[in-house]
């Protein structure tokens, strides 16, 4: 579960309470440098509180927030980019002017900001909107501008809260590409909060799941998936179902079966984790006519549903 990479962000036993409501109840989190870290959880789980803490908007009641090895201070905020979930722009300003304003708030000087903005506006196809009123922007356009504003100052650490909501599939894909590019080319660490599991599958290399103010799962996506798979395989064959089930014996556990007729059956099997899939396949070929055999694909959806259910129990 632990990573050998240096940590960009380390939360230790963070606790935060609003009135009687405990928003974060002793959460610890390790975000490795250069990773895309998915922060997941149901609504009201405490994600936004956690994100606001990292963005320097709130502070924990107790616990530590360390940024690149030392306590988070105001100066660090210049190295953080933040795209909140609920985002807006000033209505009475023009698009370019507004982007420039935020860039200057981030401490960039005018010319640097201007040339960076021009590049980004072209890249995300918002050029031509520079002198337009914000109220003329479509939702997707406004989202792009907000995305640009949050990454313009080349932050070491980028917080994206539901960055893909409101985008059509084409633009969502474009933003995903940009997020990956930021990690690969600039080494940006990304903390990404989302409900969209498919984007987790696509983007994240690390994830954490919070539920009711507590972290219930954290780790590398590949490891988590492997663990959740727990030796399950999808197995499709032609042959006698009853005979094969009897032949399985104790070497595999039958989780589910579906018969298509014409002696074609599909099974979900669990084999012991120390048995390589090749060994099982060799044995199975001798018994039946194997049509397909593959390690079961577990979606992150399933991983989290299981984790949440387990936490409830």
């Amino acid at each position: 579960m632990t990573s050998t990479k240096p940590l960009a962000l380390c939360l230790t036993d963070v606790f935060k309470q609003y009135g009687d409501h405990v928003a974060l109840d002793g959460v610890s989190l390790n975000v490795p440098e250069g990773s895309i870290f998915g922060l997941l959880g149901p609504n009201g789980a405490g994600k936004t509180t956690l994100i606001r803490m990292v963005a320097g908007i709130t502070a924990p009641d107790s616990g530590r927030v360390e940024f690149y090895g030392s306590n988070l201070i105001d100066e660090d905020l210049n190295n953080i980019g933040y795209l909140p979930e609920e985002r807006g722009l000033y209505k009475n300003m023009r698009v370019g002017e507004q982007a420039l304003y935020f860039a200057q708030l981030r401490g960039m000087d005018y010319h640097e900001a201007k040339s960076e903005l021009t590049t980004w506006f072209e890249r995300l196809e918002v050029d031509g909107w520079w002198d337009r009123e914000v109220s003329d922007l479509s939702k997707g356009m406004a989202q792009k501008v907000q995305f640009i504003v949050s990454i313009l100052h080349k932050p070491k650490f980028l917080i994206l809260d539901e960055p893909l909501s409101g985008f059509d599939p084409i633009n969502a894909a474009r933003i995903k590409t940009e997020i990956k590019r930021l990690r690969d080319e600039n080494g940006t660490t990304v903390l990404l909060s989302t409900h969209d599991m498919s984007s987790v599958d696509e983007l994240c290399d690390h994830v954490a799941l919070v539920n009711q103010g507590k972290k219930i799962l954290e780790g590398e996506v590949s490891t988590l998936r492997e663990n959740a798979r727990a030796g399950r395989i999808d197995f499709k064959f032609r042959g006698n179902l009853i005979a094969f089930t009897a032949a399985l014996g104790a070497s595999a556990i039958l989780h589910s079966v579906h018969s298509y007729g014409d002696n074609v059956n599909e099974m979900v099997l669990g084999i012991p984790t120390n048995t390589p899939i090749e060994k099982f396949l060799k044995w199975a070929t001798s018994e039946v006519d194997v049509l397909s055999c593959s390690p079961r694909k577990i979606s992150m959806d399933e991983v989290f549903l299981r984790a949440v259910n387990k936490a409830k129990r």
């Binding site: 953080i80 933040y82 985002r87 209505k91 304003y101 200057q104 708030l105 504003v149």
Partner: protein
């Protein structure tokens, strides 16, 4: 600090360049002067020619002229010829209602001996006379009757009587400062305080609306991740305060230019000499300065210590705006839409309204304890002090008032910032005043 200036700049520029701001700044003084001018022109053009018939049956005021064969007044001077007012006399009392209505006369006065006792006359009209015409008629009749009575009852020549008659003018002088006419000047102070009230109110509401916009648009979330909430609030109040200041300065300069233009016009057109001649004044004033000096109510404008008024006016505006602006910001942060702000605005507006209303009281009795106290209380000082300043206050009074204001501004900014940074992230429910007080005790961040 750079971020602070960036915010101040945004708040300032996005407002100053609005068409509404530019228009109101340029047109404000023009409209005000224009409005006054229009009113004068309007009332003048509305003046109709009054033709008043005086029914003098007992020939108290008039006699039948042998040559002309008509009634003429004994005292023609008492009934001077005016543009808008003309008198005719008759001794016949046979005029009926219908006769009057059909006649060219616009008014009719019955005049008999009883007027010498009860000093009352009746003016009949078809459509009412203007205030101006009525007061002229009253003045003329009074003069005529006075003259009559002086002759009849005292057997004095009217000229002799006039010499006896005195009208005491009261000139007030402060024995310590030798200051004269302080209470006349207070009117100027009152105008200052009215503008103070207006600007604090208008731009205070700007602050509130700006905060609400940022909150409901959720822009604040991004901004506050870059700068501290109190920085954002402070810079916002400062930026909008500067917008108000810009307008004040622009209005002052424009008014000054308009005044100079008017003065030049009045001097060149001979309007001043005309007015003076009309009023029978002896001094011939060809320039505005001497004209103003000769008229007590205008002379006040020359006596005002403008530099002091403007200097302190700006100080109290900035202080007062910082004080109220941060309160408006706190209110804005606590609600999600303007309509929810009403009841929270009450405690903010109350002291402002109070000092505005109090000013009328102070105008009539300037040196009350209430006025003095209010010029120290920071919430009322910016408005109250302007009236008192125009009348002259001790330097130490100003110093104390200013000091208290500065200290309170700092405290208020701190308090408002606490409410602001908590309120700005509260969505979904309207807070009560009690809850807002609780926010004051919340931990930093």
């Amino acid at each position: 600090m750079r971020k602070w200036f960036a915010i101040v700049g945004r708040e300032y520029i996005t407002r100053v360049r609005r068409r509404a701001f530019i228009l109101s700044t340029l047109l404000g003084p023009v409209l005000m002067v224009g409005f006054i001018a229009l009113m004068v022109v309007f009332t003048q053009s509305q003046e109709r020619n009054e033709k008043i018939l005086i029914i003098d049956t007992v020939e108290l005021l008039s006699y039948t002229h042998e040559v002309k064969g008509e009634q003429v007044p004994y005292c023609p001077d008492c009934f001077p010829l005016r543009d808008f007012l003309e008198y005719r006399f008759t001794k016949e009392d046979t005029i009926t209602k219908e006769g009057f209505l059909a006649s060219e006369y616009t008014g009719m006065i019955e005049f008999d001996e009883s007027i010498l006792q009860n000093a009352k006359a009746h003016l009949y009209y078809e459509t009412a006379q203007s205030v101006n015409a009525r007061s002229a008629i009253k003045r003329d009749l009074s003069n005529a009757v006075e003259k009559l009575r002086v002759k009849q009852e005292l057997n004095l020549e009217y000229e002799t009587y006039k010499k006896l008659k005195v009208d005491i003018g009261l000139k007030t002088i402060n024995i310590e400062t030798q200051d004269k006419n302080a209470e006349n000047r207070s009117l100027v102070g009152w105008v200052f305080s009215m503008f103070m009230f207006m600007f604090i109110m208008i731009y205070g509401m700007h602050v509130m609306r700006g905060v609400i916009e940022e909150k409901s648009n959720r822009i604040v979330e991004v901004v506050v991740s870059i700068v501290k909430p109190e920085t954002l609030m402070g810079a916002k109040v400062a930026g909008i305060g500067l917008v108000g200041l810009t307008q004040i300065i622009a209005w002052a300069i424009l008014s000054w230019i308009l005044f100079l233009l008017f003065g030049a016009y009045a001097e060149s057109s001979g309007m001043l000499t005309e007015i003076m001649a009309e009023n029978g004044e002896l001094v011939a004033a060809t320039n505005l300065n001497t004209f103003m000096r000769a008229h007590e109510d205008l002379d006040v404008l020359l006596q005002i210590h403008w530099l002091q008024m403007i200097g302190w006016g700006l100080f109290f505006y900035l202080g007062g705006f910082a004080l109220y602006g941060s309160m408006f910001a706190a209110v804005g942060a606590s609600v999600e839409q303007e309509s929810d702000a009403q009841y929270l605005l009450l405690p903010v507006m109350l002291p402002l309204m109070f000092s505005y209303i109090l000013n009328i009281q102070i105008l009539s009795s300037p040196e009350t304890t209430l006025a003095e106290v209010c010029s120290y209380v920071p919430f009322t000082a910016p408005i109250t002090m302007m009236v008192r300043l125009s009348m002259g206050v001790q330097w130490w009074e100003l110093a104390i008032s200013a000091l208290i204001l500065i200290v309170t501004v700092f405290l208020m900014i701190k308090l408002a910032a606490r409410i602001y940074r908590t309120g700005i992230f509260m969505y979904g429910k309207k807070p009560t005043l009690k809850e807002m007080f609780k926010w004051l005790t919340y931990k930093n961040k």
